[in-house]
């Protein structure tokens, strides 16, 4: 293939990978604290709807973006209440949140279907966008994409090089040790859930503010579930999540292009590609390392001592 085809495809991979990246980073942060939040899909779509409605009513996309993050925080707080206060089952609570979120967004968003809202448009970065090949792939996007270039290293720094990050990881690895060290395990898990929810909400906002600028039902289209799988693919590392997200973004962009090019392949098969890849990736990464990289206490509630 020629550069003229590949470069735009890769640029599209970055763009369609971005919402998944936000959500994956959020889920990594939550899981690092030991909480499994399967509700990513629901949190994302609530973020997407919030962003759309705020942008539509205020005309301010930045405000809409932040509001989506806060909505994600609020939505995932439900998960926190169930799992941390009432020590409910994390899997069940997460699944319920996913269903609740998608249902709620469909219901509340019915009136907005087909409308368009102001959002973010591509801004070529001076100098950087002039670099051959890399320039058009990475530096000719909207500002929300550029933001994701900063988050993984910052999240890595926070987790590995700061005291709160150390405590958060301890809460996810071995809560008994954290408790013995005098830490408030559930407090750190709250941070994991709320911060993670914020990023998931941003991931949703990207879809309605930059990716489409309009509202349709089921806007997230399973991206939240892909994010959950990508966390395992990334071995819970923010840096690896970038590759995973762009890989999926690439597949999504490719199948759109293939459909547009009038290929003989049935479109349903093409639409299936990202999800088929999810399964393959999960199998391969489990094969290589299994769950050995997972936070040891992931999904395990800390029962209060009597």
């Amino acid at each position: 293939m020629e550069l003229a085809i590949i470069v735009p495809l890769l640029a599209a991979a970055v763009q369609s990978g971005t919402p998944i990246l936000y959500a994956t980073l959020g889920e990594i942060f939550t899981e690092k604290s030991g909480v499994l939040n399967l509700g990513v899909e629901g949190v994302m779509i609530i973020g997407a709807l919030t962003a759309f409605v705020v942008a539509l009513t205020t005309g301010n996309p930045v405000l809409a973006f932040v509001a989506a993050g806060l909505a994600g925080t609020l939505a995932s707080a439900i998960h926190g209440v169930v799992c941390l206060w009432f020590k409910g089952n994390q899997v069940v609570s997460g699944l319920a949140l996913a269903i609740l979120g998608t249902g709620l967004a469909d219901y509340l968003g019915t009136g907005y279907v087909g409308q368009t809202a102001p959002g973010f448009s591509p801004v070529a970065l001076p100098v950087l966008s002039g670099i051959p090949i890399l320039g058009p792939i990475f530096f000719n996007h909207d500002p929300l994409v550029y933001l994701t270039y900063l988050i993984p290293p910052l999240m890595w720094l926070l987790l590995m090089r700061t005291r709160p990050g150390l405590c958060l990881r301890a809460a996810g690895e071995y809560p008994a040790a954290a408790t013995a060290a005098g830490l408030d395990v559930d407090g750190h898990r709250w941070w994991g859930i709320l911060m993670g929810g914020f990023f998931m909400g941003l991931g949703g906002a990207y879809l309605s503010l930059a990716y489409t600028h309009l509202w349709t039902n089921n806007l997230t289209g399973g991206r939240g579930w892909i994010a959950v799988a990508l966390v395992i693919f990334a071995f819970w590392r923010p840096g690896r999540a970038v590759f995973g997200a762009y890989l999926f973004g690439g597949i999504m962009a490719l199948q759109l292009r293939l459909q547009a090019s009038g290929t003989q392949l049935p479109s349903s098969l093409l639409l299936m590609l990202p999800y088929a890849l999810t399964v393959i990736v999960l199998v391969l990464s489990s094969w290589r390392r299994g769950m050995s990289e997972a936070p040891a206490a992931l999904g395990v509630n800390v029962e209060p001592a009597d």
Partner: protein
């Protein structure tokens, strides 16, 4: 004593779990620059007491004084703040993190962590106490001895003044244990106070400055280590002599041999011979960890004897366990009645069926109605409370759960019973019930009673075998006064020279 108050004073500490008194009115001083050993059998209340001091449990009553002023240790955080640190028996280390990360955990300080600087600090601190650890190593790659050093470094790094060691040598090789003792000496030399929990007599003799002995939740003795002449004396103080309970035990005519072990070797045992007949109780006494556990596991079929032979009810070991009957055979009453004997989340009927289901099958079906009827009858006969088959096992108190286990096992009409610490943690009334039931069961069966409570062994056994370091030091009749008087010496490994 000088006028200065001790670093820590525990005054009148009591703690109960349900109807079990783990600690009863305990008063104890912990002094600077001294090693205090807490000696006692499993379940004597040592760990509960120290968990209270570490802020993990709250006492039901009593006060803790820090340098003369009362403090409330409501959280581990508070205890750490008061300078109290604990090296747990099961290390509280995050396996996936490095040594330095574990040491930093919970440490107050700035936002940013500069690992090169922290590594330097850790290395210096370790060197100061003669330890060698790589701060960048992952915990998962360390030996048990090294992990323990990390636990100690954690406390030293926080400048803890009172260090509690919960059975620290249980996981160490002899060489590592020596290193630990050297480190402990260095630490008290620097004015730290150490509490050393153990049931190993020699260690306590070797390292402690003063010794407190706990039994059934009470401090029964407090002595200066220098005043103790031998580990036999300690053993005697630890197991106790006073008779709390008396049961009427009439000797029966021993009948056929139900258990015969010859030259059992390996897994911690050395040339163990024993013989048990129907109609008698053979008490195995000794300080915990001297081979009782592997012996029980071999006899009960949990692990095969590496060397030597065991014959049960006249059958060879392999054959016996290959086609063991549900009834008229072996019943095991384990020490761990919550973990091994019952399923905590199942109700009493299902727990009853765990070992008796063989008696309620018809083809592929379980006759639950019949089981229900029989189990309900047992609950009445054994006075198990609550008298409700739908109650879940965890809802029962220790004594009632133990009676439930006995009721179930005796329903099988066993001909050989292995009872391990059958009254541990039970109150006097429940203990008496259990003792009576065991004596009744003796008519139909031979009973091997493994106990750390000498009074229990004396009250129930027809014969006693003393174990030390995997050997049976001597076997003798309970009526043989000369031998009985020397049980403490034998528990400390001395041959009976009578």
């Amino acid at each position: 004593m000088t006028g200065q108050p001790p670093l820590i004073r525990l005054a009148g500490i009591s703690k109960s779990f349900g109807d079990v008194h783990a600690n009863r009115d305990i008063t104890l001083d912990i002094e600077e620059g001294r090693i205090l050993a807490l000696l006692g059998e499993n379940g004597a209340g040592k760990s509960t007491l120290m968990s209270i001091l570490a802020g993990q449990l709250q006492p039901d009553s009593g006060t803790i004084f820090l340098q003369g002023s009362p403090i409330v240790l409501s959280t581990t955080d508070r205890a750490i703040g008061a300078g109290i640190g604990m090296v747990y028996q099961h290390f509280k280390l995050v396996e996936a993190m490095t040594v330095a990360e574990n040491i930093q955990l919970g440490h107050a300080g700035g936002m940013w962590l500069s690992w090169p600087k922290i590594h330097e600090e850790v290395r210096d601190l370790a060197a100061q106490y003669g330890m060698k650890v790589d701060p960048a190593a992952r915990i998962g790659s360390l030996s048990m001895g090294e992990k323990q050093q990390v636990e100690i470094l954690k406390l030293l790094h926080r400048r803890s003044r009172i260090l509690i060691f919960d059975e620290p040598t249980a996981v160490l090789t002899p060489h590592e244990a020596e290193n630990l003792f050297a480190t402990m000496k260095l630490m008290v030399g620097q004015g730290k106070a150490i509490v050393f929990i153990s049931h190993k007599l020699e260690e306590v003799m070797a390292i402690a400055d003063s010794i407190a002995i706990l039994r059934r939740g009470e401090v029964v003795d407090r002595v200066a280590a220098a005043a103790v002449s031998s580990s036999a004396e300690l053993a005697e103080r630890m197991v106790g002599r006073e008779v709390l309970l008396q049961v009427d035990r009439q000797p029966l005519e021993p009948r056929q041999i139900v258990l015969k072990a010859e030259q059992l070797d390996g897994a911690g045992l050395h040339a163990v011979d024993l013989e048990l007949r129907q109609g008698e109780i053979l008490g195995i006494v000794g300080v915990a960890g001297n081979g009782q556990k592997p012996l029980v596991e071999m006899i009960c079929g949990l692990c095969p004897p590496p060397a030597g032979t065991i014959r049960l009810l006249g059958m060879e070991w392999r054959k016996f366990f290959a086609d063991q009957q549900w009834d008229l055979a072996l019943s095991y009453i384990p020490e761990d009645r919550q973990g091994l004997a019952t399923c905590q989340g199942l109700d009493l009927l299902d727990n009853f069926l765990l070992t008796t289901r063989g008696g309620f099958v018809r083809g592929p079906w379980l006759q639950r109605a019949l089981a229900d009827e029989k189990a309900a009858r047992l609950i009445r006969d054994f006075d198990i409370r609550p008298p409700n088959l739908q109650a879940l096992a965890w809802q029962l108190s220790g004594g009632n759960l133990q009676k439930m286990v006995l009721a179930r096992e005796f329903y099988r009409k066993p001909r050989l019973i292995v009872a391990e610490q059958p009254t541990q943690g039970l109150d006097i009334a429940a203990t008496e019930d259990v003792w009576k039931l065991l004596l009744e069961a003796r008519e139909q069966a031979g009973i091997l009673l493994v106990t750390g409570d000498l009074a229990e062994a004396m009250a129930l056994s027809d014969r006693i075998a003393v174990m030390f370091e995997g050997r049976i030091v001597a076997t003798f009749s309970t009526d043989d006064g000369e031998y009985v008087a020397r049980i403490p010496q034998m528990m400390a490994g001395l041959e009976p020279d009578v």
